[in-house]
């Protein structure tokens, strides 16, 4: 599991109050019974953790599935200027 994937799974588990073992790359937020208000909190925590801005309803990004979220974070982190390190784990 990549570091990004690990962190995204951790954030989803914490925010949605579900066991991390339930989360797979193929899950959608809907499968995980994550309501819209929890979903926006997950996106906020991801943004805050990686210091990125997730796109809002951009057809090039899938923010409805776990795989989509992980891929979006990987892409945005790779595009970030060097020296802008992610926040410490905590």
């Amino acid at each position: 599991m990549s570091q990004v994937q690990d962190a995204v799974f951790g954030i989803i588990a914490k925010e949605a109050n579900i066991d991390v073992s339930k989360i797979t790359l193929d899950s959608t937020l809907k499968d995980l019974e994550i309501a819209s208000l929890d979903a926006v909190q997950i996106i906020f925590e991801i943004e805050d953790h990686f210091k990125i801005t997730m796109p809002d309803r951009d057809p090039n990004f899938d923010t409805e599935s776990v795989r989509g979220l992980v891929e979006a974070v990987e892409k945005l982190v790779a595009e970030k200027p060097a020296g802008d390190a992610p926040a410490a784990q905590g």
């Binding site: 309501a35 819209s36 208000l37 926006v40 996106i43 906020f44 801005t53 809002d56 309803r57």
Partner: protein
Amino acid sequence: MGAITALGHTAAATWAALSEGRSGIGPIETIPTEQLNVKIAAEVHGFDPAAHIDNKKLPLLDRVSQFALIAAREAVAQSGLDFRVDGRGERSACIIGSGIGGEGTHNEQSKRFYGDKNPRVHPLTILRVMANAPACHIGIEYGLTGPTFAVVSACASANHAMSQAADMIRSGKVDFAVTGGTEACVTVTTMKAWEAMRVTADDTCRPFCKQRRGMVLGEGAGIFVFEAWEHAKARGATILAEFAGSGMTADAADMVFPSEVTVARAMQNALADAGLNPEDVGYINAHGTATPANDPTESKAIRRAFGAHADALAVSSTKSMHGHALGAAGAIELVAAIGALRHGILPPTANFIDPDPACDLDYVPNVAREKAVNAVLSNSFAFGGLNSVVALKKAG
């Protein structure tokens, strides 16, 4: 009736734009936008408070109170009432809704303290921020010494306030009320907070339409003078409409996802309170925020409340033109509802492209419609699951 909105600085100018389907949504000009992802709103432009409010008094008024006072002056002037004679002030309520209160002042002073590291906060901050300030300024201007307070229920504030004012007149507690809603919420942090919730559109507001991308914030005020029917008749007042009834419910379920059943019940309660049958209603000014959740739920709720008559109803969301002015929304939308009754023109849902199969009513897309109506509803629903519907009848 008085208003100040993105469509104009008076109720008449606001109605003129509504009846022509003109939208006041555009690029944000009143605040810095570098830190914003969503850079559009329905702002009140070309507004110089110093042209309306005395220099000595102005430091006491946040933009939210300035809007309320200016709209109140228009409304009171039109009513022809002098509240300072015949003990009228004592028999007058002043109930003004606001979702947030003096948010601009709160922003400025927080920036000064946290951002600029200035240890001194302006001494009038509290008086400008408090959500009851707009009601107090109106009361002071006209000597209204009866029940005076604010109603704070997010996007339902104005409808809740006006319903409360009408009930006070009905109960005999007062004979007059100055009531409505005001909001001045286009501030950097409020915009950021809405952005974070991911419910605001970055193009424009397209209620009930397939391509809708969410709400667009607006600002302004709508203020009305309510008067006991017999009293208004007896003095030969120009009666704009009859505030016939109201319906208020709470979903008591989810903070953001609306419930079709309780939304429908608010409409049914408003009809019952107004003594109206569903068939009497010709137009509904919808809450119509253009969010994914509201529009289909509101459409289903209208079907539930109106049955077969839903197909004969015209329903439009004027938020497509004046934006979503939160605690002022219901009051600004009452200008639209009264216009529909008085002029037989139904304001459209602007910016409409393609219909959404989940929204299957007649939304008066893009072009205003000439149609005489005798009764209308105006819907306002708030986060927290609060529903407030008002029913109006044609004066006569």
